[in-house]
Point group: C2
Chain length 202, copies 2
């Protein structure tokens, strides 16, 4: 597309670089920004800049946070003997959103993936071990994805921490609520039968 | 959703304010930004700021542009006797994208809409009249939408400029390519039969 303005073209390019945003949506966003009062545009820009500049990672669980120790790790009402290992900050927010988990997290911010050049030493697995060695941890839940990389990472972590006297679990795999049996892949279906549970009402 | 970080929450809110972006996409964008090198984030922010700060409107056609006279109006290869009246800069880009129009534009940046408090005096209709009075204009094409507001605006402009010795046309309405007759509304179908054209190959 030919733009009448270089400034517009650059802004469209920048919006276009966001995940899931095509050229047309990017143009819509740029023109939307043009219609906003200057103070709103400045607020938008400064909020994004300040996110990147001022965010820090929790030294304990590696979650993104404003202050050194994240609100999850510093919350004494949470169960500090339970650590859930996840791939990304987004997974933490998803689990938090369920309101059903009361333990702590350990955010890997990545996954073992030789294709992308990510090895075990690039992930904070040593830090997880340190947390266990420090004591007070009863259970580690591995909540990584079921991709080959996820399974590899889970296995690697399991091998590293199984020597400590703690329980290592993974999240349940099965048929998601609302899914039809006939459209479910064989592996999930097989797992869901293998790991069947005593019936109880929701 | 509860965020572990106020900075993240603010950035998500800002992305959420963009048109067509929900909470989940906004979170995805904010976390994407966090993974970018600082220079990319700065480029993103400065490009959006500079768009809003430095853009100007062409004094002739009201199109957004970097320099006072827009590249369309200052292009001597274009047909300066033809003016296409559109609602927004986006419409100009859409028409330019077809590569089939060689005239100039007149961008209203709005439409007569009493409900939104937009009257004829809020739109650059006087400026359109001035262009016609200056001479050299043979035809004005009204390319506004077929909504009630669009039709009202078209009629208003027609009444204002019909006294000058120029042709006033509207873009053709009919069945879009790829549309099925059975799903087309009666008005478009009726118009497309009324305004039937001699058959020729695309």
């Amino acid at each position: 597309m030919a733009y009448s303005s270089k400034l517009l073209e650059q802004a469209v390019e920048q919006f276009n670089s966001l995940p899931g945003i095509g050229k047309k949506s990017a143009l819509r966003m740029a023109l939307f920004m043009l219609k906003q009062p200057m103070e709103n545009v400045e607020k938008f820009a400064s909020s994004i800049l300040s996110l990147s500049k001022n965010i820090c990672h929790c030294p304990q669980c590696n979650m993104i946070a404003d202050s050194p120790l994240c609100p999850l790790c510093s919350d004494s009402r949470r169960n500090h003997s339970l650590i859930c290992v996840v791939e990304s900050a987004r997974d933490v927010l998803s689990i938090e959103n369920t309101g059903k988990y009361n333990g702590l997290y350990h955010v890997l911010e990545g996954i073992i993936s030789p294709m992308d050049g990510v090895g075990p030493s690039d992930l904070p697995i040593k830090e997880l071990e340190d947390r266990i060695v420090q004591g007070g941890v009863d259970e580690v839940i591995l909540a990584l994805s079921t991709s080959m990389e996820g399974e590899t990472t889970s296995l690697f972590i399991y091998n590293r921490i199984k020597k400590y006297n703690i329980q290592v679990t993974t999240i349940a795999r099965g048929i998601a609520f609302g899914d039809d049996l006939e459209y479910t892949d064989e592996l999930s279906l097989a797992k869901s039968i293998e790991n069947r549970q005593p019936f109880k009402n929701l």
